[in-house]
């Protein structure tokens, strides 16, 4: 082994995970500690005064550490951390903890119960207030760790550019990640469509999920990760690192020459679009070189609210999302909620099988007022901003459902209605389903889940959910054939659209737009520019002729142009 920047003892070891955000990184590991819970049946304390001063000291230590972290991060994160520190210093928490101590609970349990008293109040207030519950619980978990004398949960403070390793990352943890210091993310759990995967791609940080044994890599160990291939090398030799760096440099060089609308080498247009989930995403994607939005998920407008958001409230949010795109297209998916993502104001109760239950358009059919208010707000915001707004429904299975939705969209003055094709039944009968609307959009994540009967939330079933599964490609092909028969455009808005090789296959199958995490657009643009439509069709045929998902990928990798594959 040649001289390395970081001390290495063990020989290099390469492990295979799933690459979910492109790019390479090399640096020391920072381990994220899991949340700390109070021990079960913690005994009552002997000396309540002493216990209370322990608790007071714990909250103070949390406040001080949050303030220290606030000095290391950018403005937005700084305000979040400072406000959280103020919570940790709140006298109310110490008072509430004293009450719990007196009731016979132990130190850690008392802290936890005190936090939950306030959490319940905030939850009941809903909206902006409920969003602070995660911060409050974070304070609680840190204070519990402090009284128990164990490491604080979450991302520890660090100054050197590092690779963050966790079981999985919570939304609150990712919000305060410093992009200039986090050069890569590795998780042991999570899947292709987990929160970590989506967020990392959105932030442009290379990431690998489903890496076995990730959380036992010692802190400070140097790792090299490849967010495309999913390979992670622990204690790599410098030759591998320089190979990765050299490839990354060649890739960014190749990507720098291309811009503008997506097209194949023979000039066939394929729209390159972004998947977004809120106003912040819209502002950052709106500034990028892409043709608009292929999937705007609207759940965030509803999920934290305790009462149905009004038309006026929704209009304001949609205006903020549409404005950054000027006259470009924005494809909006109407509310996709259900038993797995329950709404406080429209909960139809728990279900045995939420993925197969009353979700998506099925919920809208039972609560049409919700859909109508959303469509009305979308219509107003579209007219006010002049954006090319197209609305589509999630979880459509039949032609009747598509017709019902299209009528409601048009009644609200919105010119274009579409449907997600994510139910295999709708894909197989896309000719009749799409005849009722103006366009279709393949949600390949859910389509794979339903085609392979494998729960998306089950990290252990990742292999079945691989979008290269030939059965999934067959279902996509059937959907595209139906769309072509009735002359309706069909796009893809699942994570598979951001895989440059799979994107070629999808175009070969007849897809006319690809919507993905914005960071994946440049490499997909490059892939398209190097292949003609006929070549894409050949690649699609090769993938469908394969026996397994792995064979399909290999066949396409071997047949695609080396100008592309040597960069991946």
């Amino acid at each position: 082994m040649s001289s390395s920047e970081t001390q290495t003892v063990a020989p290099p070891e390469t492990r295979q995970g799933i690459g979910v955000s492109p790019g390479t990184a090399y640096g020391p590991v920072v381990q994220v500690s899991p949340p700390v819970r109070p021990p079960r049946n913690e005994p009552a304390v002997d000396d309540q005064d002493a216990a209370l001063s322990d608790i007071r000291a714990a909250f103070e230590a949390v406040a001080v550490s949050l303030e220290q972290r606030a000095t290391l991060v950018d403005d937005t994160a700084q305000q979040i951390l400072k406000a959280t520190a103020l919570m940790a210093r709140d006298k109310g928490l110490v008072k509430a903890s004293a009450k719990e101590l007196a009731a016979g609970h132990g130190r850690a349990t008392s802290i936890d119960l005190a936090i939950e008293t306030f959490a319940a109040k905030f939850d009941a207030l809903g909206g902006y207030f409920a969003e602070r519950v995660a911060d409050l619980r974070d304070v609680g978990s840190r204070a519990v760790a402090a009284v128990l004398g164990v490491p604080a949960p979450g991302v520890p403070a660090f100054t050197e550019p590092s690779v963050i390793v966790a079981e999985d990352l919570a939304p609150a943890e990712t919000a305060t990640l410093d992009r200039s210091r986090v050069i890569g993310i590795i998780t042991e759990a999570g899947g292709r469509t987990s929160h970590t995967a989506i967020l990392a791609a959105q932030m442009g940080i290379p990431a690998v999920v489903q890496l076995v044994g990730a959380t036992s890599i010692p802190v400070g160990t140097a790792v090299a990760l490849d967010g495309d291939s999913g390979e992670v090398t622990i204690a790599p030799d410098m030759e591998l690192v320089s190979q990765q760096r050299e490839r990354a440099a060649r890739r960014s060089e190749a990507l720098s020459h291309l811009s503008g609308a997506g097209a194949t080498s023979d000039g066939h247009a394929v729209a390159l679009l972004a998947n977004i989930g809120g106003v912040e995403d819209a502002v950052s994607a709106g500034a990028l070189d892409l043709e608009g939005v292929g999937l705007f998920r609207t759940e965030f407008v509803f999920l934290s609210a305790t009462t149905a958001p009004t038309v006026q409230e929704q209009t304001e949010i949609y205006r903020g999302v549409f404005a950054p795109f000027g006259g470009r297209r924005v494809v909006v998916r109407t509310l996709d909620a259900g038993a797995d993502k329950p709404l406080k104001f429209a909960d139809l109760g728990p279900e045995e099988n939420p993925a197969l239950g009353r979700r998506g358009l099925r919920l809208s059919a039972e609560q049409p007022d919700l859909l109508d208010a959303q469509l009305e707000a979308l219509g107003i915001a579209a007219r006010e901003t002049g954006a090319d707004v197209r609305v589509m429904a999630p979880m459509v299975a039949t032609a009747e459902e598509a017709a019902w939705f299209a009528r409601r969209v048009r009644d609200n003055g919105l010119p274009k209605a579409g449907v997600m094709i994510e139910v295999p039944g709708a894909a197989l009968r896309s000719r009749h389903v799409l005849e009722e609307v103006d366009f279709g959009s393949l949600g390949t994540n859910d389509l794979a889940q339903y085609t392979m009967a494998a729960d998306r939330m089950q990290g252990a079933l990742s292999d079945l959910l691989d979008p290269w599964q030939p059965a999934v490609l067959d279902v996509v092909a059937a959907a595209c054939e139906g769309a072509a028969a009735v002359d309706r455009p069909i796009g893809v808005c699942g994570e598979s659209a951001g895989d440059p090789l799979l994107a070629l296959v999808l175009v070969g199958l007849g897809v006319s737009s690809l919507s993905m995490a914005p960071s994946k657009v440049p490499v997909v643009r490059l892939a398209l520019s190097l292949h003609s439509v006929a070549e894409c069709q050949t690649l699609a045929a090769a993938a469908r002729a394969a026996r397994t998902a792995g064979d399909a990928l290999t066949a396409v990798r071997d047949a695609a142009r080396s100008e592309l594959t040597t960069l991946l």
């Binding site: 305000q79 406000a83 103020l86 919570m87 006298k91 928490l93 905030f122 602070r132 409050l136």
Partner: protein
Amino acid sequence: MATRTVTIASAVGLHARPASLFVEAATNTGLDVEISKDGDDPVDATSILGVMALGAKHGEEVTLTADGDGADEALDSLVALLSRDLDSE
């Protein structure tokens, strides 16, 4: 005892950043300042959790009270703070 009533100007209501700024300012007065809404039991204005749990939204009125030297001036400055849209600054 000094008392003032003021309408919350912040678009997002008295939460997060506006609440933090208010609590910091109330703490800096060094007085026992209390805040209440809709005639409910007043809460300690130096407690961020108590202030946020009021759930005071944009356009709602809150009542501030304080005792002691400089109470009037202290409340005037807090009223001025709540009358601004703290989120847009």
